[in-house]
Symmetry: C2
Amino acid sequence: MGVVVNLENGKREPASIKPLVELTAADMGRVNELILSRAGSDVELIPEVANHLISSGGKRLRPMVTLAAAQMFGYSGDGHVKLATSVEFMHTATLLHDDVVDESDMRRGRKTARMIWGNQASVLVGDFLLGQAFRMMVDVGSIDALDILSSAASIIAEGEVMQLTAAKNLDTTEDEYFSVIKAKTAALFSAAAEVGPVIAGASRADRNALRSYGVNLGLAFQLIDDALDYGGSSTDLGKNVGDDFREGKVTLPVILSYRRGTTAERQFWKAAIEGSEADDAALEKAIGLMTRHGAITDTIARARHFGDIARDALAPLETTRQKAALIEVIEFCISRVN
Amino acid sequence: MGVVVNLENGKREPASIKPLVELTAADMGRVNELILSRAGSDVELIPEVANHLISSGGKRLRPMVTLAAAQMFGYSGDGHVKLATSVEFMHTATLLHDDVVDESDMRRGRKTARMIWGNQASVLVGDFLLGQAFRMMVDVGSIDALDILSSAASIIAEGEVMQLTAAKNLDTTEDEYFSVIKAKTAALFSAAAEVGPVIAGASRADRNALRSYGVNLGLAFQLIDDALDYGGSSTDLGKNVGDDFREGKVTLPVILSYRRGTTAERQFWKAAIEGSEADDAALEKAIGLMTRHGAITDTIARARHFGDIARDALAPLETTRQKAALIEVIEFCISRVN
């Protein structure tokens, strides 16, 4: 795992997002134009706030998945570009609201919009982007795609509320954690993937395959994100390490460490996560306990489990460059952790 | 004005919302059921927060407008019930977010959701209700209705951002104020009215008539709301009087008083609205200045102007009980101020 064979010289190379980027490059050019025009408004504050986040260098993985999934079934219109843009706007709206809910100061190495323009602008510009997302979907005119994406919007919000309820609660079970990430993260990946075959008029089996791919890719993606928040499997800590810890988020690395820990260790977790003793020394200790109990390793193992399901979901489909790129992206997401 | 003729005994009676309530009573029963079921979720916090606001005794004017507008053109399915519920959910979502943006403590005489469950829950449950609103519209399956309502969602958010930008700015012109209330309030009334003829398959002229009715009713409604925040034309101050003043909102009564005032008065307004000197004594003085300059009277006159346009918008339509009820509701909204 963690590698793909490069056919030209037989050398193994790390999994990459490149094939997906290349296949969708032309369409993504149109998505990026649409993002700029639909985030526009005569109300100057709107493009200012929206573009701050939009231009902050996200990978735009979700819209690329939509584009590749539509291409895969021979779609030739321009609906996939609009749906991909809608998906990215839904994601951006969620991030703007998330930062308000989590009281976050930084995202992608930059100040969050709420730190620059305030919570008020972040809430309202998020609402605007969500409205624009729906307008674009309506423009495409596919009731099935509308159904999938509007359901995802509800489910994402439901997942965020679930997460709020579970915050700082160490009794959260692994199953409850999976329910949260399935709703708050995997639902949008699932919708992003499924609307591709939907507008291409593909079969029910093809729709189900892409939906299953999306939901499992999303679960793997979030698990790795949660592992990365504690430095992943690397000893080299990235700059965002510890955000979840300081916010008292009960993610899988914490759940596993808490459940596998001694009584004294559980006391530590309670003070750190449910209390307010989450300083740098506590973070270092937390990472130590995670290592001792294999909590990061097993979080990654869970991600691989879902990644494998995502891969098998696409297995029956005809071999295409799109299929290969979507499969490689699973491994790319998981190998971010190394 | 302010009265309608009761045909039975020739006595003039005040304009009432009753005919609209009675005509839509059966359908509103179904709307209320749908509200309860679609605000439901296994995530307990969601119905808790949603129902707090939903059960707080709003008039549900917007969904009644949708129902009457559909009935008026002989609609016989159940799509109007879903669209009316969507409209009410969009309104509720906006209120939840508004209270966060305005940092409001009270609404309709009760603590706001954000005071009980926090800003976080208010933002996220608002998002959930918006998602549910879209799901119901998609369920109805009318692309035209979806187009109208999703456009309204963007425009409302745009209006809220405009209002945020204009906050505490006494240079706001009357025209800018109208742009704000047209977007933040009238757009939803307009959409609520227009989707009625749309799902009933009425003509383009009928759609335009109802849209024009809705937007002008919405403008009149918001103007009266803004007058009521300074006690309306009554000397008996209601319990919410002064909220806009304390929040530094630049509404029409303030715009007119500021523009018509002396240099000394403008200093007072700057200290109160742009500064923080908005205590009870300042509020009393503000109301005195509004009276002196006819600012409340003229705000009501502007409302009557839009109310008249709303009435004339419906004039060419066939006489029906629905048409009479919708016309009477214009005067009812305006006469709240007496």
